[in-house]
Protein backbone atom coordinates (compact mmCIF):
# COMPACT_ATOMS: atom_id res chain seq x y z
CA UNK A 1 0.00 0.00 0.00
CA UNK A 2 1.30 3.44 -0.87
CA UNK A 3 2.09 6.11 1.69
CA UNK A 4 -0.92 8.12 0.58
CA UNK A 5 -3.46 5.34 0.80
CA UNK A 6 -1.90 4.32 4.11
CA UNK A 7 -2.59 7.86 5.36
CA UNK A 8 -6.09 7.87 3.91
CA UNK A 9 -6.86 4.58 5.63
CA UNK A 10 -5.83 6.10 8.94
CA UNK A 11 -8.01 9.09 8.23
CA UNK A 12 -10.95 6.74 7.62
CA UNK A 13 -10.24 5.01 10.93
CA UNK A 14 -10.12 8.39 12.63
CA UNK A 15 -13.38 9.53 11.10
CA UNK A 16 -15.07 6.30 12.14
CA UNK A 17 -13.98 6.64 15.75
CA UNK A 18 -14.64 10.37 15.56
CA UNK A 19 -18.25 9.84 14.44
CA UNK A 20 -18.86 7.69 17.48
CA UNK A 21 -17.09 10.09 19.85
CA UNK A 22 -19.12 12.93 18.40
CA UNK A 23 -22.44 11.13 18.93
CA UNK A 24 -21.53 10.40 22.54
CA UNK A 25 -20.06 13.85 23.12
CA UNK A 26 -23.39 15.39 22.11
CA UNK A 27 -25.00 13.77 25.14
CA UNK A 28 -22.32 15.10 27.49
CA UNK A 29 -22.50 18.58 26.08
CA UNK A 30 -26.30 18.85 25.96
CA UNK A 31 -26.73 17.59 29.50
CA UNK A 32 -23.99 19.94 30.68
CA UNK A 33 -25.61 22.85 28.86
CA UNK A 34 -29.00 22.28 30.45
CA UNK A 35 -28.27 20.75 33.85
CA UNK A 36 -24.68 21.99 34.43
CA UNK A 37 -23.73 18.43 35.19
CA UNK A 38 -21.02 16.11 33.87
CA UNK A 39 -22.96 12.89 33.51
CA UNK A 40 -20.17 10.36 33.89
CA UNK A 41 -22.70 7.55 33.59
CA UNK A 42 -23.31 8.61 30.01
CA UNK A 43 -20.64 6.25 28.64
CA UNK A 44 -22.34 3.30 30.28
CA UNK A 45 -25.55 4.00 28.40
CA UNK A 46 -23.57 2.94 25.31
CA UNK A 47 -22.96 -0.41 26.92
CA UNK A 48 -26.63 -0.80 27.86
CA UNK A 49 -27.63 0.06 24.30
CA UNK A 50 -25.27 -2.57 22.93
CA UNK A 51 -26.55 -5.28 25.31
CA UNK A 52 -30.19 -4.56 24.53
CA UNK A 53 -29.55 -4.74 20.81
CA UNK A 54 -27.52 -7.93 21.26
CA UNK A 55 -30.19 -9.74 23.30
CA UNK A 56 -33.06 -8.46 21.18
CA UNK A 57 -31.40 -10.04 18.14
CA UNK A 58 -29.73 -13.16 19.49
CA UNK A 59 -32.15 -14.16 22.30
CA UNK A 60 -35.48 -12.80 21.10
CA UNK A 61 -34.85 -13.05 17.36
CA UNK A 62 -36.25 -9.60 16.74
CA UNK A 63 -35.58 -8.06 13.34
CA UNK A 64 -32.55 -5.78 13.36
CA UNK A 65 -34.49 -2.55 12.85
CA UNK A 66 -36.78 -3.37 15.76
CA UNK A 67 -33.83 -4.29 17.97
CA UNK A 68 -32.25 -0.93 17.22
CA UNK A 69 -35.45 0.99 17.98
CA UNK A 70 -35.97 -0.98 21.18
CA UNK A 71 -32.44 -0.23 22.28
CA UNK A 72 -32.92 3.49 21.56
CA UNK A 73 -36.20 3.63 23.51
CA UNK A 74 -34.88 1.71 26.51
CA UNK A 75 -31.78 3.91 26.70
CA UNK A 76 -33.84 7.10 26.39
CA UNK A 77 -36.03 5.92 29.27
CA UNK A 78 -32.98 4.85 31.26
CA UNK A 79 -31.51 8.34 30.81
CA UNK A 80 -34.71 9.90 32.15
CA UNK A 81 -34.87 7.50 35.10
CA UNK A 82 -31.21 8.02 36.04
CA UNK A 83 -31.77 11.79 36.08
CA UNK A 84 -34.94 11.55 38.15
CA UNK A 85 -33.51 9.12 40.71
CA UNK A 86 -29.87 10.15 40.99
CA UNK A 87 -29.48 13.78 39.89
CA UNK A 88 -32.79 15.56 40.43
CA UNK A 89 -32.71 15.28 44.24
CA UNK A 90 -29.26 16.90 44.13
CA UNK A 91 -30.17 19.82 41.91
CA UNK A 92 -29.24 22.40 44.52
CA UNK A 93 -26.31 20.39 45.89
CA UNK A 94 -22.67 21.19 45.21
CA UNK A 95 -21.03 20.22 41.94
CA UNK A 96 -18.73 17.80 43.66
CA UNK A 97 -21.68 15.83 45.09
CA UNK A 98 -23.15 15.63 41.62
CA UNK A 99 -19.85 14.45 40.18
CA UNK A 100 -19.46 11.75 42.80
CA UNK A 101 -23.05 10.65 42.24
CA UNK A 102 -22.46 10.44 38.48
CA UNK A 103 -19.41 8.23 39.02
CA UNK A 104 -21.52 6.14 41.40
CA UNK A 105 -24.23 5.67 38.77
CA UNK A 106 -21.57 4.63 36.28
CA UNK A 107 -20.19 1.95 38.60
CA UNK A 108 -23.71 0.86 39.45
CA UNK A 109 -24.60 0.23 35.80
CA UNK A 110 -21.34 -1.62 35.14
CA UNK A 111 -21.71 -3.80 38.23
CA UNK A 112 -25.36 -4.48 37.53
CA UNK A 113 -24.58 -5.73 34.04
CA UNK A 114 -21.65 -7.74 35.28
CA UNK A 115 -23.90 -9.37 37.87
CA UNK A 116 -26.63 -10.09 35.35
CA UNK A 117 -24.59 -11.17 32.36
CA UNK A 118 -21.08 -11.83 33.77
CA UNK A 119 -17.93 -10.02 32.74
CA UNK A 120 -17.27 -12.38 29.84
CA UNK A 121 -17.33 -10.64 26.49
CA UNK A 122 -20.07 -11.73 24.12
CA UNK A 123 -19.85 -11.51 20.35
CA UNK A 124 -22.04 -8.83 18.80
CA UNK A 125 -24.03 -9.97 15.73
CA UNK A 126 -23.36 -8.52 12.31
CA UNK A 127 -26.10 -6.01 11.71
CA UNK A 128 -24.66 -4.10 8.79
CA UNK A 129 -24.53 -6.50 5.88
CA UNK A 130 -23.40 -4.37 3.00
CA UNK A 131 -20.47 -4.52 0.58
CA UNK A 132 -17.33 -2.51 1.25
CA UNK A 133 -16.89 0.74 -0.59
CA UNK A 134 -13.86 1.19 -2.83
CA UNK A 135 -12.61 4.69 -3.36
CA UNK A 136 -9.45 4.81 -5.44
CA UNK A 137 -6.88 2.60 -3.78
CA UNK A 138 -8.68 2.25 -0.45
CA UNK A 139 -11.59 0.10 0.55
CA UNK A 140 -13.93 1.20 3.34
CA UNK A 141 -15.88 -1.52 5.14
CA UNK A 142 -19.65 -1.14 5.56
CA UNK A 143 -19.76 -0.47 9.33
CA UNK A 144 -17.30 2.38 8.77
CA UNK A 145 -19.19 4.28 6.14
CA UNK A 146 -22.60 3.52 7.71
CA UNK A 147 -21.33 4.87 11.03
CA UNK A 148 -20.27 8.07 9.35
CA UNK A 149 -23.51 8.47 7.38
CA UNK A 150 -25.76 7.70 10.35
CA UNK A 151 -23.84 10.09 12.58
CA UNK A 152 -24.02 12.92 10.09
CA UNK A 153 -27.76 12.39 9.62
CA UNK A 154 -28.43 12.28 13.36
CA UNK A 155 -26.32 15.36 14.00
CA UNK A 156 -28.15 17.26 11.27
CA UNK A 157 -31.53 16.27 12.69
CA UNK A 158 -30.39 17.29 16.16
CA UNK A 159 -29.14 20.61 14.84
CA UNK A 160 -32.48 21.35 13.15
CA UNK A 161 -34.37 20.22 16.24
CA UNK A 162 -32.42 22.49 18.58
CA UNK A 163 -32.45 25.49 16.22
CA UNK A 164 -35.94 25.34 14.80
CA UNK A 165 -38.41 23.62 17.08
CA UNK A 166 -40.19 25.15 20.04
CA UNK A 167 -38.71 22.57 22.42
CA UNK A 168 -35.25 23.14 20.94
CA UNK A 169 -35.52 26.87 21.50
CA UNK A 170 -36.71 26.23 25.04
CA UNK A 171 -33.69 23.98 25.60
CA UNK A 172 -31.36 26.72 24.42
CA UNK A 173 -33.15 29.20 26.68
CA UNK A 174 -32.79 26.92 29.72
CA UNK A 175 -29.15 26.37 28.90
CA UNK A 176 -28.46 30.11 28.74
CA UNK A 177 -30.52 31.24 31.77
CA UNK A 178 -32.75 28.73 33.48
CA UNK A 179 -34.47 31.28 35.74
CA UNK A 180 -35.35 33.54 32.84
CA UNK A 181 -36.58 30.44 31.00
CA UNK A 182 -38.91 29.66 33.90
CA UNK A 183 -40.27 33.19 33.65
CA UNK A 184 -41.30 32.30 30.09
CA UNK A 185 -43.34 29.40 31.45
CA UNK A 186 -40.82 26.74 30.41
CA UNK A 187 -40.94 23.65 32.61
CA UNK A 188 -37.34 22.97 33.62
CA UNK A 189 -37.91 19.38 34.77
CA UNK A 190 -39.51 18.46 31.48
CA UNK A 191 -36.71 20.13 29.51
CA UNK A 192 -34.04 18.28 31.50
CA UNK A 193 -35.84 14.96 30.95
CA UNK A 194 -36.03 15.57 27.21
CA UNK A 195 -32.32 16.40 27.14
CA UNK A 196 -31.37 13.21 28.97
CA UNK A 197 -33.63 11.20 26.67
CA UNK A 198 -32.07 12.64 23.50
CA UNK A 199 -28.51 12.27 24.79
CA UNK A 200 -29.12 8.67 25.83
CA UNK A 201 -30.85 7.80 22.56
CA UNK A 202 -27.78 9.06 20.68
CA UNK A 203 -25.59 7.02 23.02
CA UNK A 204 -27.60 3.89 22.19
CA UNK A 205 -26.98 4.45 18.49
CA UNK A 206 -23.31 5.12 19.22
CA UNK A 207 -23.13 1.85 21.17
CA UNK A 208 -24.64 -0.15 18.33
CA UNK A 209 -22.36 1.47 15.76
CA UNK A 210 -19.33 0.98 17.99
CA UNK A 211 -20.11 -2.71 18.33
CA UNK A 212 -20.59 -2.99 14.59
CA UNK A 213 -16.95 -2.00 14.14
CA UNK A 214 -15.63 -3.75 17.27
CA UNK A 215 -18.10 -6.63 17.70
CA UNK A 216 -17.53 -7.54 21.33
CA UNK A 217 -19.84 -6.65 24.24
CA UNK A 218 -18.87 -6.53 27.91
CA UNK A 219 -20.08 -4.49 30.90
CA UNK A 220 -17.14 -2.05 30.70
CA UNK A 221 -17.38 -1.41 27.02
CA UNK A 222 -18.70 2.12 27.47
CA UNK A 223 -16.05 3.53 29.76
CA UNK A 224 -13.23 4.16 27.29
CA UNK A 225 -15.30 5.65 24.46
CA UNK A 226 -17.23 7.51 27.18
CA UNK A 227 -14.07 9.16 28.51
CA UNK A 228 -12.78 9.91 25.02
CA UNK A 229 -16.11 11.49 24.11
CA UNK A 230 -16.01 13.53 27.30
CA UNK A 231 -12.58 14.80 26.29
CA UNK A 232 -13.97 15.55 22.84
CA UNK A 233 -16.79 17.56 24.40
CA UNK A 234 -14.35 19.57 26.52
CA UNK A 235 -12.02 20.02 23.56
CA UNK A 236 -14.83 21.39 21.41
CA UNK A 237 -16.22 23.51 24.24
CA UNK A 238 -18.56 21.84 26.71
CA UNK A 239 -22.11 23.10 26.29
CA UNK A 240 -21.59 23.70 22.58
CA UNK A 241 -23.28 21.30 20.16
CA UNK A 242 -21.09 22.08 17.10
CA UNK A 243 -18.13 21.95 19.50
CA UNK A 244 -18.96 18.37 20.48
CA UNK A 245 -19.08 17.30 16.84
CA UNK A 246 -15.86 19.07 15.98
CA UNK A 247 -14.14 17.80 19.12
CA UNK A 248 -15.27 14.26 18.36
CA UNK A 249 -13.81 14.22 14.86
CA UNK A 250 -10.59 15.98 15.87
CA UNK A 251 -10.06 13.51 18.68
CA UNK A 252 -10.80 10.48 16.51
CA UNK A 253 -8.37 11.64 13.84
CA UNK A 254 -5.58 12.58 16.28
CA UNK A 255 -5.95 9.20 17.91
CA UNK A 256 -5.84 7.24 14.65
CA UNK A 257 -2.83 9.16 13.35
CA UNK A 258 -0.86 8.80 16.59
CA UNK A 259 -1.60 5.09 16.66
CA UNK A 260 -0.32 4.69 13.11
CA UNK A 261 2.64 7.06 13.07
CA UNK A 262 3.81 7.55 16.65
CA UNK A 263 2.88 4.72 18.92
CA UNK A 264 -0.29 2.81 19.66
CA UNK A 265 0.71 2.52 23.32
CA UNK A 266 1.11 6.25 23.61
CA UNK A 267 -2.05 7.25 21.80
CA UNK A 268 -4.19 7.59 24.94
CA UNK A 269 -1.44 9.57 26.64
CA UNK A 270 -1.26 11.86 23.63
CA UNK A 271 -5.01 12.36 23.63
CA UNK A 272 -4.89 13.37 27.30
CA UNK A 273 -1.96 15.67 26.59
CA UNK A 274 -3.99 17.42 23.91
CA UNK A 275 -6.75 17.89 26.47
CA UNK A 276 -4.38 19.33 29.05
CA UNK A 277 -2.83 21.71 26.53
CA UNK A 278 -6.32 22.83 25.56
CA UNK A 279 -7.32 23.37 29.18
CA UNK A 280 -4.23 25.47 29.78
CA UNK A 281 -4.53 27.70 26.72
CA UNK A 282 -8.26 27.86 26.07
CA UNK A 283 -10.20 26.30 28.94
CA UNK A 284 -13.53 27.06 27.29
CA UNK A 285 -12.66 24.76 24.36
CA UNK A 286 -12.47 25.44 20.63
CA UNK A 287 -16.03 26.73 20.17
CA UNK A 288 -16.92 27.34 23.80
CA UNK A 289 -17.63 30.81 25.03
CA UNK A 290 -15.91 32.26 28.04
CA UNK A 291 -19.10 32.62 30.02
CA UNK A 292 -18.58 33.74 33.57
CA UNK A 293 -20.01 31.50 36.24
CA UNK A 294 -23.21 32.91 37.66
CA UNK A 295 -23.26 33.47 41.40
Amino acid sequence: MSEVSQFLMQLVNGINAGSIYALIALGYTMVYGIAKLINFAHGDIIMVGAYICLFAISSFNLPIWLAIILSIIVCALLGIVVEKIAYKPLRSASRISLLITAIGVSYFLQSLFQLLFSANPRPFPTIINLPALSIGSISISAPYYITFIVSVILMSILHLFVQKTKIGKAMRAVSEDSQAAQLMGINIDKTISITFAIGSALAAVAGILYCSSYPMVNPYLGSLPGIKAFIAAVLGGIGSIPGAVLGGFILGIIEALTKAYISSQLSDAIVFTVLIIMLVFKPSGILGKNVKEKV
Binding site: A173, E176, Q182, L183, M184, N187
Partner: protein
Protein backbone atom coordinates in the same frame (compact mmCIF):
# COMPACT_ATOMS: atom_id res chain seq x y z
CA UNK B 1 -55.91 40.89 41.87
CA UNK B 2 -52.61 40.10 43.61
CA UNK B 3 -52.57 39.85 47.39
CA UNK B 4 -49.41 39.13 49.35
CA UNK B 5 -49.82 38.22 53.00
CA UNK B 6 -47.20 37.95 55.70
CA UNK B 7 -44.53 36.79 53.29
CA UNK B 8 -41.25 35.54 54.74
CA UNK B 9 -38.39 34.48 52.46
CA UNK B 10 -34.93 33.30 53.52
CA UNK B 11 -31.65 32.50 51.83
CA UNK B 12 -30.28 29.89 54.21
CA UNK B 13 -29.94 31.68 57.54
CA UNK B 14 -30.55 35.14 56.14
CA UNK B 15 -34.18 36.24 56.37
CA UNK B 16 -34.38 38.61 53.40
CA UNK B 17 -38.15 39.21 53.58
CA UNK B 18 -39.53 39.43 57.09
CA UNK B 19 -43.30 39.42 56.92
CA UNK B 20 -44.41 41.59 54.01
CA UNK B 21 -48.05 42.21 53.05
CA UNK B 22 -49.38 44.31 50.22
CA UNK B 23 -51.88 44.14 47.43
CA UNK B 24 -52.46 45.26 43.87
CA UNK B 25 -55.95 45.88 42.56
CA UNK B 26 -57.18 45.31 39.05
CA UNK B 27 -55.92 47.99 36.66
CA UNK B 28 -53.51 49.68 39.06
CA UNK B 29 -49.86 50.57 38.75
CA UNK B 30 -48.32 49.81 42.11
CA UNK B 31 -44.70 50.75 42.80
CA UNK B 32 -42.45 49.00 45.27
CA UNK B 33 -39.48 51.22 46.02
CA UNK B 34 -36.48 50.64 48.19
CA UNK B 35 -32.71 50.86 48.35
CA UNK B 36 -30.32 48.28 46.97
CA UNK B 37 -30.60 45.11 49.05
CA UNK B 38 -33.99 45.95 50.55
CA UNK B 39 -35.45 42.72 49.18
CA UNK B 40 -37.36 43.89 46.10
CA UNK B 41 -36.01 41.25 43.72
CA UNK B 42 -36.51 38.54 46.31
CA UNK B 43 -40.21 39.44 46.45
CA UNK B 44 -40.46 39.47 42.66
CA UNK B 45 -38.79 36.06 42.38
CA UNK B 46 -41.10 34.65 45.03
CA UNK B 47 -44.21 35.93 43.26
CA UNK B 48 -43.06 34.30 40.01
CA UNK B 49 -42.31 31.03 41.78
CA UNK B 50 -38.52 31.07 41.35
CA UNK B 51 -38.19 31.08 45.15
CA UNK B 52 -40.40 29.34 47.67
CA UNK B 53 -41.20 31.36 50.81
CA UNK B 54 -40.70 30.25 54.41
CA UNK B 55 -44.29 31.23 55.08
CA UNK B 56 -47.05 33.48 53.85
CA UNK B 57 -49.35 33.43 50.86
CA UNK B 58 -49.49 35.12 47.47
CA UNK B 59 -52.95 35.04 45.92
CA UNK B 60 -53.44 35.79 42.25
CA UNK B 61 -57.23 36.04 42.24
CA UNK B 62 -58.02 32.78 44.06
CA UNK B 63 -54.86 30.76 43.34
CA UNK B 64 -52.04 30.60 45.89
CA UNK B 65 -48.88 31.14 43.85
CA UNK B 66 -46.63 29.86 46.64
CA UNK B 67 -48.06 26.40 45.86
CA UNK B 68 -47.87 26.77 42.08
CA UNK B 69 -44.82 25.85 39.96
CA UNK B 70 -43.18 28.73 38.07
CA UNK B 71 -44.23 27.58 34.61
CA UNK B 72 -47.90 27.37 35.67
CA UNK B 73 -47.79 30.89 37.10
CA UNK B 74 -47.10 32.30 33.64
CA UNK B 75 -50.12 30.39 32.33
CA UNK B 76 -52.28 32.01 35.01
CA UNK B 77 -51.50 35.40 33.46
CA UNK B 78 -48.55 36.73 35.43
CA UNK B 79 -45.40 37.69 33.54
CA UNK B 80 -42.18 39.29 34.75
CA UNK B 81 -39.52 41.50 33.21
CA UNK B 82 -36.59 40.50 35.39
CA UNK B 83 -33.89 42.74 36.81
CA UNK B 84 -31.03 43.31 34.33
CA UNK B 85 -33.41 42.23 31.51
CA UNK B 86 -31.96 38.74 31.07
CA UNK B 87 -32.79 38.41 27.40
CA UNK B 88 -31.57 35.22 25.74
CA UNK B 89 -28.49 36.74 24.17
CA UNK B 90 -27.72 33.76 21.92
CA UNK B 91 -31.15 33.84 20.30
CA UNK B 92 -32.61 36.36 17.90
CA UNK B 93 -35.02 39.11 18.87
CA UNK B 94 -37.82 37.17 17.23
CA UNK B 95 -36.92 33.93 19.01
CA UNK B 96 -36.91 35.80 22.32
CA UNK B 97 -40.42 37.06 21.60
CA UNK B 98 -41.55 33.57 20.62
CA UNK B 99 -40.21 32.24 23.90
CA UNK B 100 -42.31 34.86 25.66
CA UNK B 101 -45.37 33.19 24.14
CA UNK B 102 -44.18 29.73 25.19
CA UNK B 103 -47.33 28.96 27.19
CA UNK B 104 -49.67 29.98 24.37
CA UNK B 105 -50.88 27.64 21.65
CA UNK B 106 -52.73 29.56 18.93
CA UNK B 107 -50.14 30.48 16.28
CA UNK B 108 -52.36 33.09 14.68
CA UNK B 109 -53.05 34.93 17.94
CA UNK B 110 -49.37 34.76 18.82
CA UNK B 111 -48.36 36.42 15.56
CA UNK B 112 -51.01 39.10 16.15
CA UNK B 113 -49.50 39.87 19.55
CA UNK B 114 -46.07 39.97 17.96
CA UNK B 115 -47.26 42.49 15.37
CA UNK B 116 -48.67 44.67 18.15
CA UNK B 117 -45.37 44.53 19.99
CA UNK B 118 -43.48 45.45 16.82
CA UNK B 119 -45.82 48.44 16.46
CA UNK B 120 -45.08 49.60 20.01
CA UNK B 121 -41.36 48.87 19.64
CA UNK B 122 -40.40 49.53 16.01
CA UNK B 123 -36.70 49.14 16.89
CA UNK B 124 -37.33 45.50 17.69
CA UNK B 125 -38.92 44.92 14.30
CA UNK B 126 -35.89 46.38 12.53
CA UNK B 127 -33.65 44.05 14.50
CA UNK B 128 -35.79 40.97 14.62
CA UNK B 129 -33.20 38.67 13.00
CA UNK B 130 -30.38 40.03 15.16
CA UNK B 131 -29.04 38.17 18.20
CA UNK B 132 -30.45 39.73 21.37
CA UNK B 133 -26.94 39.95 22.84
CA UNK B 134 -25.97 42.50 20.18
CA UNK B 135 -28.71 45.00 21.17
CA UNK B 136 -28.04 48.13 23.21
CA UNK B 137 -29.18 48.29 26.84
CA UNK B 138 -32.32 50.24 25.99
CA UNK B 139 -33.24 47.88 23.17
CA UNK B 140 -32.69 44.91 25.46
CA UNK B 141 -35.04 46.47 28.00
CA UNK B 142 -37.67 46.88 25.30
CA UNK B 143 -37.12 43.30 24.19
CA UNK B 144 -37.50 42.05 27.77
CA UNK B 145 -40.76 43.99 28.05
CA UNK B 146 -42.01 42.81 24.67
CA UNK B 147 -41.08 39.25 25.58
CA UNK B 148 -43.11 39.41 28.80
CA UNK B 149 -46.07 40.94 26.95
CA UNK B 150 -46.02 38.03 24.48
CA UNK B 151 -47.54 35.93 27.29
CA UNK B 152 -50.56 38.28 27.23
CA UNK B 153 -50.41 38.75 31.00
CA UNK B 154 -53.18 40.19 33.17
CA UNK B 155 -50.49 41.46 35.48
CA UNK B 156 -46.96 42.48 34.54
CA UNK B 157 -44.10 42.64 37.03
CA UNK B 158 -41.16 44.90 36.18
CA UNK B 159 -37.96 44.75 38.23
CA UNK B 160 -35.94 47.97 37.90
CA UNK B 161 -36.63 48.65 34.22
CA UNK B 162 -34.71 51.94 34.41
CA UNK B 163 -31.46 50.36 35.59
CA UNK B 164 -28.45 51.55 33.60
CA UNK B 165 -30.42 53.58 31.06
CA UNK B 166 -29.99 57.23 30.05
CA UNK B 167 -32.58 59.71 31.43
CA UNK B 168 -34.13 60.03 28.00
CA UNK B 169 -34.57 56.26 27.65
CA UNK B 170 -35.90 56.02 31.20
CA UNK B 171 -38.60 58.53 30.26
CA UNK B 172 -39.48 56.50 27.19
CA UNK B 173 -39.65 53.25 29.14
CA UNK B 174 -41.92 54.81 31.77
CA UNK B 175 -44.12 56.20 29.05
CA UNK B 176 -44.47 52.69 27.62
CA UNK B 177 -45.27 51.25 31.06
CA UNK B 178 -48.06 53.79 31.40
CA UNK B 179 -49.34 52.79 27.97
CA UNK B 180 -49.27 49.08 28.81
CA UNK B 181 -51.35 49.90 31.89
CA UNK B 182 -53.78 52.03 29.87
CA UNK B 183 -54.34 49.02 27.62
CA UNK B 184 -55.66 47.10 30.63
CA UNK B 185 -52.64 45.34 32.13
CA UNK B 186 -52.14 45.66 35.88
CA UNK B 187 -48.54 46.60 36.76
CA UNK B 188 -46.26 45.95 39.72
CA UNK B 189 -43.20 48.14 39.30
CA UNK B 190 -40.06 47.72 41.39
CA UNK B 191 -37.68 50.68 41.31
CA UNK B 192 -34.76 52.37 42.98
CA UNK B 193 -35.60 55.39 40.83
CA UNK B 194 -38.30 56.53 43.28
CA UNK B 195 -39.03 59.81 41.56
CA UNK B 196 -40.02 58.27 38.24
CA UNK B 197 -41.85 55.35 39.84
CA UNK B 198 -43.93 57.50 42.18
CA UNK B 199 -44.71 59.72 39.20
CA UNK B 200 -46.70 57.03 37.41
CA UNK B 201 -47.88 54.83 40.31
CA UNK B 202 -51.43 54.87 41.66
CA UNK B 203 -50.13 53.53 44.93
CA UNK B 204 -46.73 52.66 46.31
CA UNK B 205 -44.97 50.81 49.09
CA UNK B 206 -41.55 51.53 50.53
CA UNK B 207 -39.49 48.46 51.40
CA UNK B 208 -36.69 48.72 53.96
CA UNK B 209 -34.63 45.74 55.10
CA UNK B 210 -37.24 43.20 54.15
CA UNK B 211 -40.20 45.04 55.69
CA UNK B 212 -42.78 47.51 54.39
CA UNK B 213 -41.88 50.85 56.00
CA UNK B 214 -44.44 53.13 54.36
CA UNK B 215 -47.35 53.01 51.97
CA UNK B 216 -49.71 55.44 50.30
CA UNK B 217 -50.69 56.89 46.96
CA UNK B 218 -47.88 57.83 44.59
CA UNK B 219 -48.46 61.47 45.33
CA UNK B 220 -48.58 61.08 49.11
CA UNK B 221 -45.28 59.25 49.13
CA UNK B 222 -43.65 61.67 46.72
CA UNK B 223 -44.50 64.47 49.17
CA UNK B 224 -43.66 62.57 52.35
CA UNK B 225 -40.65 64.08 54.13
CA UNK B 226 -39.35 60.61 54.99
CA UNK B 227 -39.35 59.50 51.36
CA UNK B 228 -37.96 62.82 50.17
CA UNK B 229 -35.06 62.52 52.55
CA UNK B 230 -34.21 58.88 51.90
CA UNK B 231 -35.08 58.37 48.24
CA UNK B 232 -35.52 61.68 46.47
CA UNK B 233 -32.27 63.34 47.48
CA UNK B 234 -33.60 65.84 50.06
Amino acid sequence: MLKIQDLKVSYGMIEAIQGVSFEINDGEIVALIGANGAGKTTIMHTISGLLKPQSGTIYLDDVDLTKTPADKIVKLGLAQVPERRRVFSQQTVEENLELGAYTRKDAKEISETMEKIYTSFPRLKERRKQLAGTLSGGEQQMLAMGRALMAKPKILLLDEPSMGLSPLLVKEIFHIIKEINNNGTTVLLVEQNAKMALGIANRAYVLENGKIALSGTGEELANSPQVKKAYLGG
